[in-house]
Amino acid sequence: MTQTNFYRSIKDFPEEEFFAPGHRACQGCGETVAVRHILKAAGPDVIVISATGCMEVVSSPYPFTSWAIPWLHVAFENAGAVASGVERGLLALKRKGILSQKTIKVIALAGDGGTADIGLQALSGALERGHDFVYVCTDNEAYMNTGIQRSGSTPFGAWTTTSPPGEVKPAGQMTWKKNMPEIAAAHEIPYVATATVAYPVDLINKAKKALEIKGPAYLHVYSPCPPGWRISSEKTIQMSRLGVQTGIFPIFEIENGKRLLTVKPSRRKPVREYLKLQGRFKHLSDSDVEIIQKRIDEQCNQYGLPSL
């Protein structure tokens, strides 16, 4: 299994921006960094289908759009299904000679809510049917656009407005983060990968690879959110990096069932170093942190990340 290095360094990144400035994302938004580079990998011949969420709302307040490429937003839970329709429509029209044979890539873009929760069914159907498209989940770990409510992707212990720590329930979010990459992989699709914004070369190469592969590809991008994670806006990339260095964001790809870590810290930092810097975790007790550490240790064993 290889990671083909389409882009060897940041200097190889295409200059052209397909996600224009003037969008209404918060200062320091992690997801927009991911979207910028994924679109660079795709180039102009792409159709992006967004689910309702941060990326959709900040990019399209009528009459302002940040999309330099064709963009379709329909509803919250159906990025996978709309993309299926676009992909098959393109196939049919090309076969009938109505559209030229030019390759047009299809990208479905959704947040963690639109993927792990309300969008899970449509994603699953699209993956099972084997459509030739890339599904990108930008994961900021809650329903951020509507004001930081928890999602199935919210990590254990996080404060959100619907999982707030209180007198009776002091821990905040009480269940573990849904493992979307493994759920996608269980559909036995050709390519699944995780990435994060602090490692842009890794990210753009995975996006390019996903786009080149025939059949469904799933790309999960961990994206810090300053207002939602309670960090100041300049810390986004640092937090993404720390997530990798603590093993909380395992960065790997799964190609035809085989797993490969693509970013492997030589030493792993304790999770406390990541948790203590974010306001959403400040209520955690020492024993909460220990529980999280233990869980992350198990996760790291599974993925072949170094021990503490």
Binding site: I10, F13, A25, Q27, G28, T32, F64, P226, S233, E234
Partner: protein
């Protein structure tokens, strides 16, 4: 694009925006309360500011240096933190 609000008769069909990238007409620079200043003497052209800017507000000059478009920069400070030679400092935006 005129600043007049569309009527139901002249509004493009289905609420579609038929042009790409019209957000460029909106000045998100007004969000700022502090702004990045690049010390070009220290710049090593590592491109970190360009790659990590959420607002695509960094661009390459003809000399191969980097400059920040104040029309769009929201002053998040990521470029200052990620700049490898620490050539970028955040300063308070004047009123």
């Amino acid at each position: 694009m005129s600043n007049e609000k569309p009527t139901w008769k002249n509004m493009p069909l289905a609420g579609i925006i038929f042009e790409p990238a019209t957000s460029k007409k909106y000045r998100t620079g007004d969000f700022r309360s502090s702004k990045p200043i690049i010390d070009v003497k220290l710049c090593t052209k590592c491109r970190m500011c360009w790659v990590f800017c959420p607002d695509s507000a960094v661009s390459k000059t003809p000399e191969g240096l980097y400059e920040i478009d104040m029309e769009y920069c929201k002053g998040c400070g990521i470029c200052a933190v990620e700049c490898a030679p620490k050539a970028i400092k955040m300063e308070d935006e004047e009123e």
